[in-house]
Amino acid sequence: MATSERKNDPRIDPATGEYRVVAPGQTFKSVTDKITQIVLRPDTPLGWFALFTAAGGIVMILMVALTWLFLKGTGIWAITQPVAWGFAIINFVWWIGIGHAGTLISAILLLFKQSWRNSISRFAEAMTIFAVVCAGMFPLIHVGRPWLGYWLFPYPNSMTVWPQFRSPLLWDVFAVSTYATISVVFWYVGMVPDFGTFRDHAHSKAGQYFYGLLSLGWRGSVRHWMRYETASLLLSGLATPLVLSVHTVISFDFAVAVLPGWHTTIFPPYFVAGAIYSGFAMVLTLAIPLRKFYHLEGMVTDRHIDNMGKVMLATGFIVAYGYGMEAFMAWYSASHWEAFMFWNRAFGPMGWSYWVLITCNLAIPLTTLWSRKLRTSMAFMFFISIVVNTGMWFERFVIVVTSLYRDFLPSSWGTYRATKWDYAVYVGTLGLFTFLFLLFVRFLPMIPMNEIRILLPGAKITPKATAKAGD
């Protein structure tokens, strides 16, 4: 884009030459009114009801699929020998990965003082929690007897049996449960001051009670704020190694096994980068329609979409490095099994899935995301976000299925064909995610008002301010 053309663009901040983080003309009051309006308005937009009904319908599909699963057992899924891990683990890894971008935005970017993340951090965190809800369901339902799911945890019992701490599957239990807990706590702590704002702006008695209880009596004392800031910073500092460890531990589920295609040291960084890649895609999938629907262009600006495109470009290349290294090691290891596995992955009967993955994760996004024009085109970014989410789902599919279906012994080769119940559970979790997210958008502050206020020009402390300078 030519420089002169960009200079006159009102969306560009002349001081930095970047897109603005907050549109000009926003004040403390306008930000508060805008966000509280979305939640505290007495009428709910019809579009919300339409989506909520649709999402609720899909949740019903999930309920039916789970009921049938609990009645019949995991035999209704396509898992068998040799592919004993199917959609359940694919969806688990995919959902957890999506969740990671939320933590990345809220924690890692906070530590790096990337203040542009302030306006998208809240719904990215919400996305994390709902993604973890969907992800956490899969290990529970795939154990076959989900009512005994608590056996995963160490607790004193009359059988005097204890879990086996040398297994990555048990590490997973602790990684994911810690991740879920810390994400919820971080999310809630972040919302407490905004609940205070809602309490003070709610007109209905019910709203005042509801948000009053949730706000815990927050009154904005600066002493409280300072402890709050310390706690937020510490939680970010803790969430950062946590998010990296969670996907690392999940990759151990594969990498600790001796199977060609799984037994590789590239998995932890490659899984984490892939998680962030797909997570940012999901943030875009949610942010682009949301900002349009609720007219939030002043707070979720082109800068956010642009920056997320850049993060996706960077993590996409790490993922590309991971794919390249897998191919390289298949040759360089001189292992017959590795080489066959790789050949079979790309050119075997299920090779189509590998090429879907390469197209969706590398060919389309990594060639187009270089262009700023495309990165700030909402239609294109929405399209890319769907493409990458699809690609990342196929990445997990490729890792799980194409490593398993033709193993060491040709007589045990098989294939994998998902049943309608596999699809029903997967589509059902998409519905559940949307359902929860719609509830969040309707009842909770989806943009952190207190963090946006910090970014406003009025928040600047001037040493010799005149008494009536205003904002």
């Binding site: 508060t32 204890w162 810390i182 309490r199 009596g217 300072m226 460890s245 928040a459 040493p463």
Partner: protein
């Protein structure tokens, strides 16, 4: 809590954070110690102006994290070595490298919970009632766009008439009395 009567303090309202910080600095300089600022977002300068520099949240977090680490690592060791030793591929029962991962997760879990709940506890929250909510202009502004300085009646310098006159010299938008 026993019912209290009288005045909690005097509340001065300001339009901008700069005015608040200036007023808070002045009040602190003039010897006020029982005072607090109320802002819709964290204003670090205001905290420093009233002499609030350090807090105990980091210490609580550290202690919590270490407790989590110790709890999980000893649990794993006790289970694997004493309570339920299993031979898994001939690995030693005390496989400490494998124990690091759950212990690491629990360090973060306990540290994070200590940071969050410790912060609320130190702040005295939840406390759904506070006298400040009685002030007519507090709830309409303190959580959205106004900045408040409160001189509390517990300060030895406090006098309902004189302190009000003093606050007026700091150029507030308004000064109101906050009853209990």
């Amino acid at each position: 809590m026993p019912p209290r009567e009288g005045t909690y303090g005097l509340l001065a309202e300001f339009d901008s954070p700069s005015d608040l910080v200036r007023a808070a600095r002045q009040a602190r300089q003039d010897g006020w110690r029982r005072l607090d600022c109320y802002t819709p977002y964290p204003v670090e300068e205001a905290a420093e102006a009233i002499g609030f520099h350090r807090n105990k949240v980091p210490l609580l977090t550290l202690v919590g994290g270490l407790m989590g680490l110790a709890a999980m690592f000893s649990l794993e060791t006790w289970i694997s070595v004493l309570a339920y030793p299993l031979n898994i591929g001939g690995r030693p029962t005390y496989s400490w490298p494998a124990f690091i991962i759950p212990a690491y997760e629990w360090t973060i879990l306990w540290a994070g919970l200590s940071a969050a709940f410790g912060m609320f506890a130190l702040n005295g929250l939840p406390s759904l009632y506070h006298p400040l909510f009685n002030a007519p202009n507090f709830r309409s502004g303190a959580t959205s766009d106004k900045f408040f300085l409160c001189l509390e009646a517990l300060d030895p310098k406090f006098d309902l008439v004189e302190s009000r006159a003093y606050l007026e010299t700091l150029d507030p938008v308004s000064v109101v009395e906050v009853p209990y």
